[in-house]
C-alpha cells in the first residue's frame, strides 16, 4: 500500500512555486482592495441547493458531495466560488447600491480541468453587483487586464461574446429545449455541418442567422458583419452595440480584442457579455468572466452582476519555473551586534537563516548564497564561494 500517493490530479505545491503563488495571491488581493473590492471568505462547503443554484447541471456534476451528519442533507464542496459571492451579495449584505466583492480560495472539481489540469484550482476573482450598465462590465474587464499585468503576463488577449444573440434567436423562433441544447453544443464547437442539419426545419431567417454565428468570430470587423447578416431585432442590436462599446474601451488598455458570437460558455446562467482572457504560451483561457444578472434571483433577490475569476495554479503553469528565494546564513554567536544586523536585514525583507549549532550546514540545501561574517569590527553579508 503506497499510502503517500495522492489521488489523481491532486498535487502538493512545493516551496518555490508555493511562494510564488502566495505572492501573486496577495498582489491580486491588494489590487482588488485598492479598487474597492471587499474581501470575503465563503465556506468550503455548503448545502447543494445553494451551491449550484442558478449555475446549472454542469456545476452539479463537477461538485464533490457529502452528507451532513447533523441534518442528513446533501452538502457539496464548492467547485466555484462565484455563486457563493452572489449568495453573500443577495442575502447577507443587502446593499441597495453597488457592491464589489473579491475572494480567493481552493475549490474542488470532480474532473480535472483548466490550464493546470487539476481537480483543485486556486480560484481568485472579483465580482460587481448592483449595476446593469456597460460601465460595470468595462470596470471588471479593466480590472482583469490589470490583474494579468500584475502577474507579469503581457500580450493579453480578450475574447468577447454576448449570450443574448443566440438567446434571442432561440426565443423568437420558439425552439424547444432539446433542440436548444443540441444547437448550443453544436455552436460551442463551431460545428457548422451539425448546425445545418439541426436547423433544417426552422424558418429561413433564424436558420441563416444560426449558421452565420459559427463564422462570426474574429477581430472588430466581424461586428460590422454581424450587423449586416443577423436579424436587426432590438435584442441583437443592443448586444452588438454593447460589444462595440467594450471594444473601444479595451483597445486603449494594451490588450488585443476579438469577438466570437458562437461562444456560449455558461449560457444557462450568463445574461450578457461574456469574455475569456488568453495569452501567448497558454494552451487555454487564463480567466473567464461575464454578466449573470439572474443568478441572485434564485437567492431571492435578482441583482445585476458581472465579474471574473481565474485559477492561480493555471496561470503560473506557463510561467518559467519559480526561483527559490535566496537566503543569508548567520552563524551561532552571542554578539548582540549580530542580532541587530539580522533584524535589520529581515526588516528589509531579506531572508536570514540562523544556525542552530556549530555543525557545518549544507548551504545549498538551505538556499543560502550569502552569509554573515564578522570583520572590521562589524557583521557583513558576503557571498558564499561555491566550489
Amino acid at each position: 500500500m503506497r499510502n503517500w500517493l495522492l489521488p489523481e490530479y491532486i498535487e502538493d505545491v512545493l516551496p518555490a512555486e508555493a511562494l510564488r503563488i502566495e505572492i501573486l495571491r496577495r498582489k491580486l488581493l491588494d489590487l482588488f482592495k485598492v479598487h474597492g473590492y471587499q474581501y470575503v471568505i465563503p465556506p468550503m462547503l455548503e448545502y447543494m441547493e445553494s451551491l449550484i443554484t442558478g449555475a446549472g447541471h454542469d456545476l452539479d456534476l463537477a461538485t464533490f458531495k457529502v452528507v451532513d451528519q447533523l441534518t442528513g442533507r446533501l452538502m457539496g464542496v464548492r467547485a466555484d466560488m462565484t455563486p457563493q459571492a452572489a449568495r453573500i451579495d443577495a442575502h447577507l449584505l443587502n446593499h441597495q447600491g453597488v457592491t464589489r466583492l473579491c475572494y480567493a480560495g481552493s475549490v474542488l472539481r470532480t474532473k480535472p480541468d483548466g490550464l493546470a489540469l487539476t481537480r483543485e484550482p486556486l480560484q481568485i476573482g472579483a465580482e460587481l453587483y448592483g449595476h446593469a450598465g456597460i460601465e460595470s462590465d468595462i470596470e471588471i474587464q479593466r480590472l482583469l487586464i490589470k490583474a494579468l499585468q500584475a502577474i507579469g503576463i503581457d500580450e493579453i488577449h480578450l475574447d468577447f461574446s454576448h449570450v443574448n444573440v443566440f438567446g434571442s434567436l432561440i426565443e423568437s423562433s420558439q425552439i424547444d429545449a432539446q433542440l436548444e441544447q443540441d444547437l448550443y453544443a453544436a455552436l460551442q464547437s463551431k460545428d457548422q455541418p451539425a448546425v445545418a442539419a439541426l436547423t433544417k426545419a426552422l424558418d429561413h431567417t433564424t436558420r441563416e442567422a444560426l449558421l452565420h454565428l459559427t463564422e462570426l468570430n474574429g477581430d472588430k470587423s466581424i461586428l460590422a458583419k454581424a450587423f449586416q447578416v443577423l436579424p436587426a431585432t432590438p435584442a441583437i442590436k443592443k448586444a452588438l452595440d454593447s460589444l462595440q462599446q467594450v471594444s473601444h474601451a479595451i483597445d486603449q488598455l494594451g490588450a488585443t480584442v476579438s469577438f466570437d458570437l458562437s461562444e456560449l460558455r455558461g449560457y444557462h446562467y450568463h445574461s450578457g457579455i461574456v469574455f475569456a482572457a488568453y495569452a501567448k504560451g497558454y494552451k487555454g483561457p487564463l480567466a473567464l468572466g461575464g454578466r449573470y444578472d439572474e443568478v441572485g434571483q434564485s437567492f431571492g433577490r435578482a441583482r445585476p452582476a458581472t465579474g471574473f475569476s481565474l485559477d492561480l495554479r493555471g496561470v503560473v503553469s506557463a510561467l518559467p519555473p519559480a526561483q527559490s528565494n535566496m537566503a543569508i546564513y548567520a552563524p551561532v554567536s552571542a554578539d548582540p551586534a549580530l542580532a541587530t544586523k539580522i533584524t535589520s536585514l529581515r526588516n528589509e525583507g531579506r531572508v536570514v537563516i540562523e544556525a542552530l549549532d556549530d555543525a557545518d550546514a549544507d548551504l545549498n540545501e538551505l538556499n543560502c548564497n550569502q552569509k554573515l561574517e564578522h570583520y572590521n569590527s562589524g557583521w557583513h553579508v558576503v557571498d558564499v564561494v561555491r566550489n
Binding site: 477581430d219 488568453y278 501567448k280 494552451k283
Partner: protein, 214 residues
Amino acid sequence: MITIALSKGRIFEETAPLLAAAGIHAAEDPESSRKLIIETNRPDVRLIIVRATDVPTYVQYGAADLGIAGKDVLDEHGGDGLYQPIDLQIAKCKMMVAVRDDFDYFGSIRSGARLKVVTKYVKTAREHFAAKGMHVDLIKLYGSMELGPLVGLADVIVDLVSTGGTLRANKLKAVEEVGDISSRLVVNQASLKLNRDKLQPIMDAFQTAIAKNK
C-alpha cells in the same frame, strides 16, 4: 509554429490534396518515414503523425493547433475544448449496427431482449441504443469486432462499414445505420484566438478546395 496532427494511411492520403490547396506539402512521406514529426515546405508549419484516436487529445491540450479526425473518433472523445468547423468530406463511411446473417435483430428488439453489443465505439453505441429506448450491455473491443457474434461473445456489433466486404466475408449483415462518418478539421480553441492570422487562411483554403470537389 502551426502543428497539424493527423494519422497515417487513408486520412493522410486524402488530406494531402487539401494541404496542398493551402500551400502545404509534407517534406517526407509518413508511410515510409519513421519520423513522428514531419516538416513541410513552410518553415512555420509541421505535421505530427499520431494514432487516429489520439488526434482530438493532442488538439484539445494544445499540443497541436489543428487536427484531422474522423467523426467516429470525435464522438467518442466528446469534443471537449475543440472546435470542429469543417467537414472535410474525406474518409467517408458509415457507422452501422450489424448482426449474424440468421439473427432477427428487429424481432429481438420488439421482444424487449437485452442485447450484448461488442464495439470499439462505446459512447456512440450507448447513445444510439439509449435514443432507441433499448437496454444493451456493451463490451469494448479494440479490433476484429466481427468475431463477436460468430463466437457467441455478443449479439450485435457497432462498427464502421465502408464497402461491407468484411461483414459479408464473416456472414454478417448490416441492419441499422447509426450515422454518416467523415473526417473533420478540429481546431484548438486558444490557438484559434491567438493564431487566427495563420489558421484562418488554411481553413479558408480547405473550404474552397472542398467546395470545388463537390
